[in-house]
Every structure is written in C-alpha cells, then in structure tokens.
C-alpha cells in the first residue's frame, strides 16, 4: 500500500496504528492466561471475606493505590525492606489488582500483622500523631462513617463473575469447605454474606469501637490480611524460581 494513501486517510491510519501498537501488549499479556506456570502453586491463598472486600473497596475509593503499591519486586533492596517478593498467586483474587505504579508511601503488599489494629486506626485518622515525618493525608471520616454493608452480596456476585470462588449453591459451598475449611467457606458463602461480615467485625473489632461497624473496621480488616495468606516458611527459596 502506498504511503500516500495511508497518510491522507486518517481513519485507515488510525486503524493501522491501533493494530501495530496492540501487538506488544497482546504478546506480553494474552499468553499469561494460558501459560501453566503463571500462577504459582501455593497453599493458603483464599478470596477475601465480605468485611475485607468492603475494606478493599474503601481502599480503592480513597485512592490509596495512587501512593501505595502492593507489589514487592524481586530486588535485593525490596527483599530486605519489605520481605518476600509478591507472587502472582497472591493477587489471583484481586479484581482489579492493586499493584500500583507509584510509591509516594511505602509498599503495602506485606502490611498485614505488622502493626496493631489500634495503630492503624490512629495512623489513618492522624498519621502525623504517630509518624511525625509522614505526608499522608488524614482520613478521619473512616471512623465517623458507618459501614454500608447492605450491598456486599452484590459485590461478591460481581467478583464471582470474574472467577472468584464465592459460593451460591450447596455444591460450590462444599467445594470451598474442601479447599479452605469450614470457617473460611462460611465467609465465602454469598447467601450468608451480611451475617458473616457482622460476625467477623464483632469478633475482631478492628476499629476499637465494639458497638459500631465503621468504614475503618473494614479497611483495617483488609490491611491486616495483606500478604499474610502464604506461609513462606513452608517453601524453599528456590521453589518459586521454577515458575519463571
């Protein structure tokens, strides 16, 4: 085809440009869906509980991902600072993933269990009261707002469409019991979503206010589970090398 024809026909040029620049993306992304070793075989990774899902949604709503990544890369400095590099398996139920691309604050991929619930509440309400040099904004409304959990089953249904194994039927529930144990399977049951959200919130009381279920409750529940699902002491360091 002659150059002149392309250059003088903007619609044709647009189509051809789209075709050419999509090659790079297609070659890099599409194969990941059918290459066997994309997702490492590890135990422990489970879908989020209803309370954690709501926390995750608040994380997204407040734009936490704009300043915090959730992806530890296999570099020496990151290994020493944050711990084990992130696995693909660890974000297999994240839709959309929260890897982020900018670290204004520290990476959060292995935040769970690192600090107490009380610290998280204090730090989210007034970051500089515990870390004087912090530039993170205050999020006081998380403690003021009561959590709206009435639509949590809808949110789970949406995730189910993308392949997250939340259960609706008895057969799916039984499969989850087999895979994750009864306690977790109960939490993954969409028909009991609101009850199990309330149960987890009351048992753990993440926000320090036993009588209330605030947005803080959900967010802290989510932050406390980040990066804690895989027990890395069970695997040799060389094990994960073989998946790449």
């Amino acid at each position: 085809m002659r150059h002149e024809q392309i250059e003088t026909n903007s619609a044709l040029m647009l189509v051809l440009i789209l075709l050419v620049i999509s090659v790079g993306g297609l070659v890099e992304i599409v194969p990941l869906f059918y290459i066997n070793e994309t997702i490492e075989k590890v135990d422990g990774v489970r879908p989020y509980t209803p309370l954690e899902i709501r926390g995750r949604d608040i994380y997204v709503r407040e734009g936490c991902y704009l300043c915090h990544s959730q992806q530890i890369r296999p570099f020496r400095d990151e290994w020493l600072r944050y711990g084990h590099y992130s696995l693909a398996a660890e974000s297999q139920y994240d839709h959309p993933f929260q890897w982020g691309s900018k670290r204004t604050g520290p990476d959060l991929a292995r935040l769970g269990g690192k600090y107490s619930n009380h610290w998280h509440v204090q730090h989210l309400v007034a970051p500089r009261s515990v870390v004087p040099q912090s530039i993170m904004p205050n999020y006081p409304w998380l403690l003021d707002n009561d959590l709206d959990y009435t639509d949590v089953d809808g949110r789970m249904r949406a995730l189910r469409v993308t392949g997250v194994p939340y259960s609706v039927t008895q057969a799916e529930y039984d499969a989850n019991v087999q895979k994750y144990g009864q306690a977790i399977a109960d939490q993954l049951d969409i028909t009991k979503a609101q009850d199990s959200l309330l149960k987890q919130a009351r048992e753990k009381d993440f926000d320090g206010f036993p009588g209330r279920i605030t947005e803080m409750e959900a967010l802290v529940a989510y932050l406390q589970v980040l990066g804690t699902m895989v027990d890395f002491t069970q695997y040799n360091e060389g094990y994960f090398v073989e998946f790449r």
Partner: protein
C-alpha cells in the same frame, strides 16, 4: 497548501519527495546515513541473539526459555543445608544469586552468623559486633518498629512506649526484650468503671498522682490508697504494693513520672490530669495496647539483632 505536481528540482542532485507546498516549498528525500542504518541492522541482530539467551516468545502453554542460566545458592529448609543450583535465567534466580554472592552480602552473612552464635554479653563486649548491630539494627528498626516507637525509639506519649528511658513495662533485660519481640505483647487492665463509684475513681486517681509527686497527699488520696492497696480496688495485684509495676504482668510503674498509657504530661491542670487517669481506670485497657508478634515476619537472627539494638538504645538494664 499541498499539491502533488512534480515541479522541476532546483539542485538536481538529490531527489525530493515529490510534494510542493505553497507552490515551491519542497522536501528532500535524502537516504538514511550509512552509520545509522548499520546501527539499526545491529539492533535487529542483537534482538535475535537476545531471544535465544533470555526468556522470550510464548509458545502454546509454555514459552521459549532461553539458554542463559543463573547460579545461586539457597538454603534447603528440610535439611538446613545450603545448596548450589544452576537454573534458567529469570529475575527470581537473579535475586537469589545476588543475595548469595554480593561481596557485602557475604560480609553481612558472616557477621549475622557471628551475632546469632554469640550471647548477649559477648555481643555487648565486642565493639565490631556492636557497630554491626547498630548499623543493621537501625535499618531493621526503621522498617519495622519506627512506625509506632519513632525513628529514634522515643515512642509516642500515651500510646507507644519510649524505648530510650528507664521505664519498661515488660522487663528490660535482653532476654525479656527478645521475648517481647518474638511473641508480641497484649497490655490488659480491667475496667473499674462498674466496680468503683465515681467518687472512688476520683480518690484512686488522686492517689496515683501523689505517687509521682504530681499532687500533694490529702484526705482524698488516703481514701484512694485504701482502695489501691485493699481488696476493693486490688490495684496492687499488678502494680505492686510499692506501685512500681510488675513486669511479668506488663503493669506500669506509677511512681516514676513516666506515663506510658495516660497522657498526663500533656494536661495542664491537676483536674485534667486526674480526669485522664480516671478515664483509664474506669475503662481499663483492652485490645488497644498490642505489640505484634514478629516471629513469623522476621528471621531469628533479625529478632536477636533487634533485641540487642533496642537494648542499647539507652534505657535498658
């Protein structure tokens, strides 16, 4: 405006693209410089070599893995032995290679092994080991502990303990600090709001303030003392009859003007100081004073190193 008439070339030597704008503005069609062209061919050849050495094209449910390899050593967790291994090139193997081979990592590993093998007394006596602990410990402390205890270990009054003073809730020996790090701590004080009447709470708060000379002793404080030391309050079970605290309970020393939980120093008047203490006695402490356990997050050597580091921050015995 462009038109496509081929106007005669003024120079004649170089071809033009054939367009003419504004009737006489033309564009030379010079060939690419030879050096540039060769560089381009060079990159094409390089890319083909690259495909063979590094992982590249996806094929079916696997991919071309490349001939490149990485040698690394990793500890086998079942046997505890270090094993050398050669594996196809990838960034995870590269990380293990770097962790094992980098010169400063070798030094670091040797020193870590030395610290792990030595007991606390030996470490304290060896200036080289202490220097190592201070430099590595500073990084570890900054990554893991500073969020609560502050970069210098100064803590936050009323929330997170100061690690540089003489007041230790759970004991200040290296072993106790080690224990605190490994298993974490959960501070607990029962709520007395239901047990004691508001006047009695007032009296106890008054008495607590006299212990550190914040308030003069009075009739109120004497009544408070009776509650503190008697069966009604029973505060002495945990805080001790001398009110100096019992580290095995994590109970605070109330006589030393260092306030770990109630933010007394920030209050200006005696009334306000009393109110803060009264609130804590009434509500107790539950679920808020938590030190996380680090045994699953940090290696035993890192924890030992941190115990030494925290111990040398200043206040520990």
């Amino acid at each position: 405006m462009s038109d496509n008439t081929n106007t005669p070339q003024p120079s004649g030597a170089v071809q033009t693209t054939g367009h003419a704008w504004d009737s006489d503005l033309q564009e030379y069609n010079n060939p690419l410089p030879r050096w540039w062209l060769w560089c381009f061919y060079g990159t094409v050849v390089f890319s083909i070599l690259y495909w063979f050495i590094y992982p590249s094209w996806p094929v079916g449910n696997t991919w071309i893995k490349g001939f490149g390899t990485v040698e690394y050593t990793a500890v086998d967790k079942a046997t505890g032995q270090e094993q050398g291994k050669e594996f196809r090139w990838n960034t995870r193997a590269l990380l293990l290679e770097e962790l094992g081979n980098a010169a400063n990592d070798q030094q670091r590993k040797a020193m870590l092994a030395k610290v792990q093998a030595a007991d606390y007394e030996q470490i304290a006596k060896d200036p080289k080991m202490m220097e190592f602990v201070r430099s590595v410990g500073k990084g570890l402390f900054g990554d893991n502990c500073a969020a609560c205890h502050g970069r210098g270990g100064q803590g936050v009054v009323g929330m997170y303990p100061n690690l540089t003073d003489d007041d230790w809730l759970w004991g200040s020996s290296s072993d106790k600090i080690h224990e605190t790090l490994v298993q974490g701590r959960k501070g607990f004080m029962p709520a007395f709001g239901q047990v004691l009447k508001p006047e009695q709470l007032d009296d106890v708060a008054e008495y607590v303030l006299t212990l550190s000379d914040e308030a003069p002793s009075s009739e109120d404080s004497e009544r408070g003392k009776a509650i503190f030391q008697g069966q009604v309050g029973g505060c002495y079970y945990c805080h001790g009859a001398d009110a100096k605290g019992i580290p095995s309970q994590g109970a605070a020393n109330l006589t030393d003007k260092i306030w770990a939980i109630a933010n007394v120093p920030a209050q200006k008047t005696l009334q306000d100081k009393k109110a803060v203490i009264k609130e804590f006695v009434a509500k107790g402490v539950n679920n808020t004073r938590v030190m996380p356990a680090w045994k699953d997050r940090l290696s035993p050597t890192d924890i030992k190193l941190l115990a030494v580091y925290v111990h040398q921050l200043g206040g520990a015995q």
